[in-house]
Symmetry: C2
Subunit: 294 residues, 2 copies
Amino acid sequence: MKPDRDEVARFYAELQSSLCDAFAALDGTARFGVDRWERPGGGGGVTRVLVGDGPLEKAAVNVSTVWGDVPPRLSDALASRASTFFATGISMIFHPRNPHAPTMHANLRYFETDRGDAWFGGGIDLTPYYLYEEDVRGFHRALREVCDAHRVADYPAWKAACDRYFFLPHRGEARGVGGIFYDHLTERLVEVDRFQRDLGSRIFELYGPILERRMTTPYDAAQERWHLRRRGRYAEFNLAVDRGTRFGLETGARAESVLASLPPRVRWDYAPRVEPGTPEHALVEVLRRPRDWA
Amino acid sequence: MKPDRDEVARFYAELQSSLCDAFAALDGTARFGVDRWERPGGGGGVTRVLVGDGPLEKAAVNVSTVWGDVPPRLSDALASRASTFFATGISMIFHPRNPHAPTMHANLRYFETDRGDAWFGGGIDLTPYYLYEEDVRGFHRALREVCDAHRVADYPAWKAACDRYFFLPHRGEARGVGGIFYDHLTERLVEVDRFQRDLGSRIFELYGPILERRMTTPYDAAQERWHLRRRGRYAEFNLAVDRGTRFGLETGARAESVLASLPPRVRWDYAPRVEPGTPEHALVEVLRRPRDWA
C-alpha cells in the first residue's frame, strides 16, 4: 500500500513553514525569504533562504514537488521502464556563523513512477568544526530513539550508511559526524511515512538546542579561519562527491536552489598543518575514524 | 616521430622555475614554496604554491611526471590496451587579490603508453571579474599570433574548444573569457612540442602585464563581494564540472596538489541580483555569449 503522495507533499510543505518559523525565532535577527519557482516539465518548489547578521550565517529550507516525463538521466537509474514520475521532498541546511556550532543538513523525500515504483529516502546529519562530544552523543541518541520507536527504521544500518555516504574519498575523511541516511525504502510505505513524520517533527529539537548552546561561544581569528577551511571541505563534498547535487544539476533542477546548501564564506588554503594535540586535530581524528555515538 | 619524453618533462620543470621567479618578482612580497611528493606507483611531482599579502592572493605552479601500470579509470578512457603509461605536465593558477585583475590558468601536458599512444594537450585561459576589453583582446591576439607561427596550431578551433570546455552547464555561463584549449594532439608531435615551448615561454608576457596594470586599481567592499561570488563559480567549475580535476581525484592524485587551483576565499550568496547597466552585468553578458576577441 502506498501513502497518499499529495498528503506527503503537504506534510513537507507544513514542515517547511514550521521549521522556518522556529529557526527564525531562534536566530532572532532575520527571516526566511520565499522564492516560488516552476519546473517547465511539471511542478515546482518553494526555496526559503535566510540571510542575516545573526547566529545563522546562512540557512535554507527548500521543498519541491515535481512530476512529468522521466528524464533520460533518471531513466538510466530506474529498474522499471517507467515513463512518468512524481517526486516530492524537503531539504534543509543550517550554516551557523560561530565555529563552535555545527552545520546541520537534513532531507526527506518520496518518489513514485507510473510503473509502480515507490520509495522514501532521507536522512539528517551533523558537521561540527569543533568537537563537543556531548552534542554528538545527544544527537545520535535522539536519532536512535526515534528509529527504535518504528519497526521500519534501523538506526545501526542507517548510521553506517550515513558514514559511508558523507565521505570524501580524496580527503580520506567523513564530511561530519554523521547521523542517519536511508534510501530506496520500498516496503511498508505507510509505516515509513509515519516514521518520517515523527523524524520531521523532531528536527528542531534535534538541532536547535545544540545551536543555541554554541552560538555565543567566543572565538578568535584562527578559529574562524579553521571554520572557513572546513567549510571548504563541505563545498568539496557537495560539488564533487554528492550524488544528489550532481543529479540535480545534471537533470536541470534550479541551480540556485540546489546550491543554496553551499556555505556562505569559504577558504581554501594550501595544505594547512593540523598540529597533534589541538582541538582541530581531535576533530580530524573523528572524521577519519567514525565512532559509534549512541 | 615522438619527442624525447624526458626532454619534455625537463622543459616543464624549467618553465616552473622561471615562472615562479618571474611572478614572485612581480608580486614583490612573497615567494613560492617547494613541496616534492612521490607517487606510490611511480614518479611524483613538485607543487609550488605562493601565499602572500601582496597582489597575488594565491598562486600555484605544479609539475608532475608519473608513470606505471595503467589504473582502471584511465584504462576505460584509452582506446588501446596499454598496460603502462607515462604522463608529464605543468599546470598553473594565479588568483590575484584585486577584483580588477583576472585569474589566469594554464596547463601543458604530454602522455605516452607502451602501446604507442602519444599525445600533447594543454591550454591557457583568463577569468576576469570585471571586463577590460583591451586586456581580453590583447590576450587573445597574442595567442592567435603564437598559434599562427606554427602550422600544427589552430587558434580558431582551439578558441572554440576552450569556450566549450570551460562552461558551467548549470549556470549557462562560461567560466571566463577563454583562450585556447587543445587535447589529444597525436600528429606531428615534434612540431607540437616546439609550439608548446613557444607558448610556454610566452606565458609570463601573456599575463604579467595585465596583472600589473590592474593589481593596484582601487576597489570597494561591494566589488570585493562580487569578486568572491564569482570565485564561487570558479570553484563550482573545478569541483563539479572539470574533467581534469575529477580524473585527478578519482585516480588518487595528491588532493592538495589537484585542489591548489581553488580560490583562496569564496562566497556563496543565494541568488544575488545583477542589475542591467552595471559592470557586473556586462561581464555576465560576455560569459553567456562568448565573443570573438582576436
